[in-house]
Amino acid sequence: MLKIENLNAGYGDVQVLWDVNMEINEGEVVALVGSNGAGKTTLLYTISGLIKPKSGSIKFLGQEIAGLPSEDIVNLGISQVPQGRRLFAGMTVKENIMMGAYHRNDKEKIKEDFDFVLELFPRMKERLNQAAGSLSGGEQQMCAVARGLMAAPKLLMIDELSLGLAPLVVETIYEAIERVIARGATVLIVEQDVLLALEQANRAYVLDVGKVILSGSSQELMDNPMIKEVYMGI
């Protein structure tokens, strides 16, 4: 579904990603892990078109999308729950969630999806008319995931969902995401918390200083002594 080949990208003169190769198949849950500053967010921004790549190819459903404007990429079916949530703080929860469907015109399906995300996150239902900025961290993350789902994405990318949240809240949100996955969604999960990511995913890539240094099934990586030592502290 998504095929990234020899991707190089960064900010201005600073190159962050070096010859990144990665593939995500339809229906798969793939984890992208790596430590602080490895370039995970940069990769997601490049896929979403917020950053133009220096070179390389990103193919989505067979179509080259590297360098396309971000609105075209959302239209093609890639949505992102960005790191730090990036909600529209002064807008209500409902307005935030509906912004996710901004590029869509299928009114009835939008309504259906809206009901679905509210059912996934009942807490949002109680907060619909509250300013997103006034929510707790966990609620903000729910709102961000709900917004991401409202794009009706073929591929959903979630960046550092667990960051700064209590484990119980993280678990609640991942349970909701598991329900989405059970419906056949294709998801790319980015986490610094390697164990958490591997538990969710079928396969994983390890990014280190902008390079993919390892990839394989979640089980393989969990058993990998280097991963155990460096990323799980075992």
Binding site: G49, S70, E71, R86, F88, A89, Y102, H103
Partner: protein
Amino acid sequence: MGSLELTQGVVNAILLSGTLALVAIGFSIVWGILNIINIAHGAFIMLGAYVTYWLFTLFGIDPFLSIPLSMITLFIVGYVIQRYLINLVIRAPLLVTFLLTFALEIVIINLATFFWKGDLRSVTPAYSGAGFTIGAVQIPYVRLGAFAISLLLTGLLHVFLTYTKTGNAIRATGMDIDAARLQGVKIAQSYALTFALGSALAGAAGSLISISFPIDPTMGGAYTLRAFLICVLGGLGSIPGVMLGALLYAFIEVFSGIYAPGLKDAIALFVLVFVLIVRPTGIAGKAFYH
């Protein structure tokens, strides 16, 4: 000063606050969403005033009826200027856009002076001096009309920003540009539309001003300053903030005119500094489009 003078002053201030809110609201959304302090805002107000003046003088079109035409004209002017000029430096620091719009103001005023001369002109429909009185308080029709239209347009802007998809996209753009792009918002379009709307509202303000006050090509500068002060007083980024700021500023303007003519700007700046010390984010605080 008697109580009649006081009451008349209060009524005048309230009526004036409507037009001033309209003067400032376009300036406010452009500042809040595009992060541009548009020095040419007053020049757009002047253009709106001249649209109404010429339509009245050449074709006898009632000044209130020419408001939509003035708005459409300025909407187009604003859209083109944003898309093909300001867009070139959109991510530039505030100082660059400040200078650019400053230059734009000078060009517009120069052209207006060249084509229309620097004379003071007035729009004088038959009902110009007419009005009614409540008790002994006088209410001129044109001021009341200007007040009502200002409130109407301000309300419509609020409805547009809050209840339409495009309006929400504009607000989202102002709050977090990258997050807005991730939802599929076309930023260039959002920006051009916002700037065009701000210009259209400036055009409407100019039309209303031309009915009550004489106009000339340099009239705009004073309104840019007022818009700036009102935005800072009220707090950047919300319509209620602008309205509060405009109300406060109208009272300063009217009452300093009664008690201390000539000190208007000094008093306004004094109050501004005072407000900023007590509440650095303005009276209403920083709100929705930021």
